[in-house]
């Protein structure tokens, strides 16, 4: 991924750190600027989840632990950057813990937790992004939809994989069973991120990781940053498990509608395979995620119940905000992107 465009003082300072030679006075100045800019941005922000500058800064710091950023030195474990990242994470997590409504607490056992998660993720009637895509979205909006999804989906499943060595027994076997399927069961061409890359190419879009980062708004980055934050902290292993469970449990039915939307506008199986694959896959994954992953974890570690519920609720709420943003822009006749998309004809 290339270094994106900055969105404020914090991301500008981070990219200055990325571009400067470590150990030089320029690098030291950029680091000092980054610390103060992040502190000021956190202080001034009324909603970190929608703060363009802070979400982009956090996203780029996390990217150092995934595929890396072109031309940037090995800064993944740089103590100064980790300290800055921790400051944003603490503010982001605190905000989520106060704004996300957590559902009623079931008894701390697998069966009751699974029932509570099925209740929490029950399909709801009324307007939704998936219904809009199925019935009404224009070709331009379908392209936007793919761009909005591309930042996470080109590394689909990766944030939750951080949790594997933090689990044991039933929960670990369940997570690995789900992730092995996400990663194609040993067949690279069936890796879900690769199937999505095929969808992007089929729609005439770039399949290069991070190609559209400049286009997507803070709330889209926040959806991914939340997963990375839950995944990268052992303390939050309950939350990452809850997040994956809720994600899988709200996927099969919407993906059928997403596929129908692309079929409606004449796209072929190269484009719709990704969505159709998720109808079948996630009908399997939701059972494993609710009963064996989340249920298995609470059976072995009942003290994690609250974090599992928090992670599940946070997944639904933040992704709900992202979907609301896209839908409200579209129904008002606007683009949902920060920077409009120019698609080659």
């Amino acid at each position: 991924m290339r270094i994106p465009e900055s969105r404020g003082a914090a991301s500008a300072a981070l990219f200055e750190v990325f571009r400067s030679v470590p150990g030089t006075p320029e690098a030291a100045r950029a680091r000092a600027e980054l610390e103060s800019a992040v502190d000021e941005a956190i202080e001034a922000s009324s909603a970190i989840v929608r703060d363009e500058d802070l979400q982009l800064t956090l996203f780029c710091m996390y990217e150092l632990a995934y595929g890396g950023i072109d031309g940037v030195a090995d800064l993944e474990w740089d103590p100064g950057l980790i300290a800055v990242r921790s400051g944003i994470e603490a503010a982001f997590e605190a905000e989520l813990r106060t704004t996300v409504p957590v559902p009623p607490r079931p008894e701390p056992n697998g069966a009751d937790l699974a029932a509570a998660l099925f209740e929490l993720t029950a399909p709801t009637p009324g307007p939704s992004l998936s219904r809009f895509v199925a019935k009404q979205a224009t070709d331009e909006q379908l392209h936007e939809f793919l761009v909005q999804r591309s930042v996470y989906t080109l590394k689909e499943a990766d944030p939750h994989s951080w949790a594997i060595p933090r689990l044991r027994g039933r929960a670990k076997a369940a997570l690995v069973e789900i992730q092995a399927d996400e990663y194609g069961g040993g067949r690279p061409q069936r890796i879900h991120a690769e199937i999505f890359a095929r969808t992007l190419r089929g729609a005439g879009l770039s399949d290069e990781y991070g190609h559209y980062v400049d286009h997507v708004p803070a709330i889209t980055l926040a959806s991914l940053n939340q997963m990375s934050m839950f995944g990268l902290h052992r303390r939050l292993r309950g939350a990452v498990v809850g997040h994956l469970a809720a994600f899988e449990m709200t996927s099969a039915l919407p993906n059928r509608m997403f596929g129908n939307g692309f079929r409606r506008l004449g796209y072929d199986e190269d484009v719709t395979w990704y969505f159709d694959e998720h109808v079948e896959a996630d009908a399997v994954h939701e059972q494993i995620a609710a009963r064996d992953l989340a249920g298995g974890l609470v059976d072995s570690n009942p003290e994690l119940l609250d974090d599992i519920l928090f992670g599940a609720a946070a997944s639904l709420v933040v992704d709900g905000w992202m979907a609301e943003h896209i839908l409200s822009c579209w129904t008002a006749g606007r683009s949902s992107l920060r920077v409009p998309l120019v698609v080659a004809a």
Partner: protein, 71 residues
């Protein structure tokens, strides 16, 4: 069948999910009444139990829309 070596030597397992599908793990062949194999694209599959799936014999999650109950 693709990937069929993964479970060799282990027992096949069918999980009856409350209010949901049958999850099938292990070395089980799914066939039509004529014995024609139905391609199995993943090592664990969910078989429709509510009768409403659009991708039968596999589950597509529709049981959650119809309030399907197993007891």
């Amino acid at each position: 069948m693709e990937g069929d070596g993964a479970h060799r030597g282990t027992d096949a397992q069918v999980v009856a999910c409350p209010d949901g599908p049958f999850l099938v793990r292990g070395d089980v062949e799914i066939v039509t009444p004529d014995g024609e194999p139905i391609p199995r694209r993943r090592s664990t599959v969910a078989l429709c139990r509510c009768g409403m799936s659009t991708i039968k014999p596999f589950c597509d999650g529709t049981h959650r829309l119809t309030g399907f109950r197993t007891d």
